[in-house]
Symmetry: D4
Subunit: 251 residues, 8 copies
């Protein structure tokens, strides 16, 4: 569906090098590999600047291995699998040289993609120790996409000085990922202190009226501070995606 690709194809048709029926076929078949239970997107890196990532939840170990094989066959060197539980990780490691982190539930094959490292730093700040699993999902995913990451953990607003103590580091970041559960006030306070984009990740940490993270999500969406973009609850990976896209601008 890329403009330049369509144009080139049309030119080849025009030049008689490709006939119309084949062109249509090519438009339809080329950019992914269909393995039945999945259409493996082998062009995503070109189109979106980041290789396809495998969402591990709801897939069997066998399906994940199949998708990895399809990606590797098409030449993808670095593969990231998210939301993997320990048991599935063990099964996958029988077949694939996957580096698995039980805190963030990420597995990485082929190491991080450090080919085009941008200059900026992504700071990942989290409010409490219990938010670290999500913060690590964000930090490690961002590193997978080739970014430098600075971690500032357990810096919630109930003890403001813990956050303010890192103010100079925070102010030097190009993008900030703020991770917080409970009332999620961290995002507002951080965004009020800096002039860079803030990606806010609500977490499901808390209990009772935290509504599984909806409370923190609402806080972040309703922030009185500007410059905040919010992602789904516990979606450290999604935050890393957005932060990485921002950090790669101008590279």
């Amino acid at each position: 569906m890329q403009k330049t690709h369509i144009l080139e194809l049309l030119k080849q048709v025009s030049a008689g090098k490709v006939d119309p029926e084949q062109a249509l076929l090519q438009l339809k078949q080329e950019p992914f590999t269909d393995i039945g239970y999945a259409k493996v997107d082998t062009h995503r890196e070109l189109r979106q600047g980041a290789a396809e990532v495998i969402y591990g939840a709801g897939k069997t170990a066998q399906q994940i291995c199949g998708i990895c094989a399809a990606l590797q066959e098409k030449g993808q060197k670095h593969i990231l699998i998210t939301r993997l539980d320990d048991e599935k990780a063990r099964q996958i490691q029988k077949t694939l040289a996957a580096d698995y982190d039980p805190v963030s539930h990420l597995a990485i094959i082929g190491g991080n993609n450090n080919e085009e490292r941008p200059q900026g730093i992504i700071a990942v700040i989290c409010a409490g120790t219990s938010d670290i699993a999500v913060a690590e999902e964000a930090a490690r995913s961002a590193e997978f996409f080739g970014n430098q990451v600075l971690r500032i953990y357990d810096a919630g607003v109930a003890g403001l000085h813990r956050l303010l103590a890192h103010l100079d580091e925070i102010m030097s970041a190009r993008v900030i990922i703020a991770v917080a559960g409970m009332e999620g006030a961290l995002a507002s306070v951080v965004a009020g202190l800096v002039d860079c984009p803030v990606v806010a990740v609500p977490t499901s940490i808390g209990y009772g009226a935290n509504l599984g993270g909806i409370s923190a999500l609402l806080s972040m969406i309703n922030s009185c501070a500007g410059g905040i973009g919010v992602v789904n609850i516990d979606n450290g990976f999604g935050a890393a995606c957005l932060a990485s896209r921002i950090n790669h601008i101008g590279k």
Copy 2:
């Protein structure tokens, strides 16, 4: 229903000064005046340390005047009417010498109750200019109950220095009322800075996913900071009630 009152009555029955049927009658009839559409609680001051207050919303001007008359007849000097709109206030002022404030929608008859002024100060802090209506409902109600009030307005967390600039005043308060809409982060930040009780009032200020104040309410209920008690959305009066009860301890 007061223990001492029941005991005294039983003693009089025992002494033959009051006969049982009359005692039962007295138990039932005495502590309020029934004017049909309302049972005016003329003993609340004794029982709860604060005179009955008239909730103006959903009552006609005529009903409000009737209740005031019943209270005045029983000797209540200071009367507070909450949630009064401008039109009803005008109608009431035809009959009663009511002092009406259009910002807080409070009317006061007979001035504030300054008989027993406690030493402590109640600080009312609000996040934005738009929260002032609720903050004033809290501040003026607290003053009605005889408290000294310190107002710190437009001190939201998006510009943290505006709050920190008042840190010494805030730390000198005996109770703090924190009023905020949108994401309501003010309560958490304030409670993390002080050692006194914080009464948090979510407001309906905001739009979209603020859900009419539910977002701020959830933030405050889920606060990662300790020492916060939350009241209903826009319930400045309720916050003043609680803060006043706290401030009157030990007097």
Copy 3:
């Protein structure tokens, strides 16, 4: 961030005893110990009148022990760990002399902090037998902070006489913590009977439309009675924090 602390530091800078760069460093580093996964707040007692408490949920036994070690190293004598499950408690007890209560899921190291016991009593009232776990979290936490606690359990409004029988005890309390699930009516009834502050704790006890405690929470937030501050569902500890701050006023 304490005013007096900043002022003193500035004075030392002014007196040439501390040079500016060091002052800045001190402002940033001193009030907590950073152990990687946590920034242990060793000044909270000074700042907020109560020592830092460890929220056990979402932390590993190893992390909890690490935080305890950091606190003990800084001289904190009394440590409270909340929301600990039986298994983690057993693991912690291998390393630390922790007193664990399986009903309230609290562990205490170094006993209660009875140094500055206020005169007032905190009454903890709960509606049903099933609410006792939360009520005990409140009662034991309040005792940890040095308060005297009176327990009145299974006194829900479906059998009003069970509550009224304790009216004189209830009326003698300086603060009341009302714990109730289901429809949470206890808070309104209690607050209507007394003149002291009432801290209301909704519990998740119930089923169906109790929505995991949201129903009780809404009841308490919407109470027609004044003087109530509400905390999160099942947050017995938070209620104790607030009640203790109130009870320590004037001490």
Copy 4:
């Protein structure tokens, strides 16, 4: 669809008095009058023990008059119209001798249906003055259905003695309708005091987290007291329906 009616019709078919096609026609057409925008149920009194009542909201004055005409043509003497606003009432009164009450928004044509008055009394208790509109909808509807009604208004739980003062009257009722907004605790307290059925009506009175009455509804549905049946928010009429069905048992 009434069993006895079907049987009788089948007997007539069997006796040759009615032929099958006509029987089918009769089964379909007879029990209501179709006036295009409404199918006026002229048999509801037989089937359900109470004549059809017109829900005025969302109908034009013209439609209401048309339905009344159809009912009167079929011989219905007493007609009740609910949820009528003042303007529509004025328009209807041009055509029909309707008795309109602006508090309850009910109009009655042909007076109450006092033919079969049951012995029991329905007590209508409401929590606050602002709940009276709903309470009157319940009380007047119950009277329309031929019941004796006892009104006890402004007896909310924040001043328990106001309710307890009427305990003997309350205990003498055959059914109680408890009307309350805000936290709706009245229903639980009343049901804990009596042994008769309690019909609970949540009202939309309140603000903020009352969620337009959902808070009171949840309270009543989750009541810790037995013997309560709940109707929709502000549905005084529905409560009267149920209470009247109960009161007419055994007559």
Copy 5:
């Protein structure tokens, strides 16, 4: 708190048979037995027409046995325990002669209370086979309170003829308990067919947007048919309470 009881006590005080302090004590201590974790209500049968029932969820087997012992000591012959799981039932049966039904999760000690059987019949209708657990909780509880019960199961509105086939039985009932999950339409259809009170019980049966029974609850609360009182989701016992109170009217 019973009027007649208070009056009698006052008369004894007046006659000098009871002195005031003792009267106050008696007012407070007599109607329940306090066993620490529970205040066993031994007068509920007098006050509410039904003996105290033990809500088994959230209590330990030991606590339940303790409460049973207290009730038996005060002379209560028939005891009902609700929401008991199989394991706790087994433990209780070691100590007590309890008759446990694993479908309804009820245990009964001392058999049903058939002393005062009312003439009317309570029909329990449920929509699907999966709703039977709740329907049986209702049916068996109603039988425990001495009522005759008629069961009509799997009669949901998707096959209307299954319901209509029982129309004559349904119309002969004095009260109907309608039990349904999913969209809960059964209650509306039943209430439109009969002239007796209908107690509606939403169940949590269903999936997805049934929201754990909230969908059925909302349906029943918003029913276009009159004469319906709704209880909590899966609250078969509560429905039986209400239906029994209705059925015992006039006995």
Copy 6:
């Protein structure tokens, strides 16, 4: 984006009749007219079997007229405008020969599209008189798309015989649109009686816990009967779209 269109274009490119750049331009520009505030879709009839319809809410009369002009210029004969209020309709009628119906808030220009009338009938059934506005939006929209429509109004389940009386007509329909507010039970009952597809339209009719139609929506989504597809609350037009697509199958 139509396959045949792309293929044809590619063939023309291949034949040298169209050059590649122009082909790309054509792919992008042709199927709609861009008038700044709107991209008028002039090919929707070809692509989706129904001409573009103008959603009137949130557009000014001027914008609507501009879109109509663009459509007419491209040769669209029949135009439907939905959700038009009376005032905007008046303004539009100054410029355009629009036939406006104030009940359904629809305006039609150029009459209904009766060119290809399918044989089947769409039955529109609504529960109450207050639901007629939505039912008429469905009925008139279906007629605009060339369908025959049968209207059966005020046939709610509280008086089941009113519905059953039309059973033969209902069973003869090819598609049924069931329109109901409050508890929305009509959809389940209808779908249980017929073998054709049922399109269910929840309405916002009702009050209190109807949550603006969410209650009826949940009922319909959770229906125990099969063969129901649900559209948005009050979306009579959307129901007509779906029903018309179904009715045009095989034509």
Copy 7:
């Protein structure tokens, strides 16, 4: 309750072949078999065009076998059991020759019902690999009802070309079932591309703010594209029911 059936019965009554009481009995008893815990609907195929299907969740293996026996006794050849877990399937297979699919959790006895195969094709499209379980429930159920099914899996809108590659197949379908979790955008995109009816199935796939599928459900209900009917979350079977009813039109 079928018109023709009632008419025929009345004719027999009229002809003296059936007497009225027996006719009433027949009206009531015939169309289902009552086996106590279930009323097995043996006429549903005639009435609704599809044989009764057994909802396996919440039924014991024994109950399911009993219902199958009742259906087989009445001559039903093809039986579908939905929402069966692996363990119950194993138990059922001891008694019955059931073909069980662990992905869709469907069991089929007697094979698919291919007697009256319609010409049209039902396309089942799903967004991600994790949605396949629901998609297979839809696809296999549709095949059970005799339809031809085309499967297009893992074609979500994040990689639009994967969907567009199948555009010609999609456009050839008579009905489309679109299955998607997370934000459920697939349904809107598909419905904008085709002119046939689209049945949308939200799934519970996702996490955090997907609210167990409510997010996808809301997306589909609010679709800006016409021609979509929505079923319950994860209700692949219900989608197949509706799609099959549509596909069988005109057959």
Copy 8:
């Protein structure tokens, strides 16, 4: 609270140029002007890279003018006022040379801030004509902050070709703001097509189950596509803030 500022101040104290008490005062008073009802933040531009913006909703015209005066006095040249209604705008224009746009409800004083224009383009895409008000709030705010903006309006996914026609323009943007109501699918589709950051703005456009924009918000938060940051419903200004911060990176 800026680190460099604190350091400089400390140095001056150290050098004896500023005495400690004055330093503390300066720390507190300097960075804003307190005008009673507002603390005007005159340093926000330095701290956050964008001058303070006035949120017009909930402020009186007089208050807004007062804040503008305070800003102008401190030298702020460009002022933006958001969420202004027509009436307030008229009042403000009496005093100030404000340029008011009635579509976006923005007023600008002193023109756009074009001093430091970044090279990148911000594309603002909206789904329907009714979303233009929010899209314009985003576009004009972004221009106020000095960005170049490309507008692509009425490009919703129901007619995908309208969006794809602009694919080359969209792909050339540095940041995209996607504005959509109803089901909000636009954000997912756009984010799947590009490799730049996407800021998603849900709007309240729609009706019924759109829940005032919550439906679109949930869609965007749950997007299956990566690289999306979500802001509050109708928060065009907030989206512009975030997009501008991103676009100014590296400038």
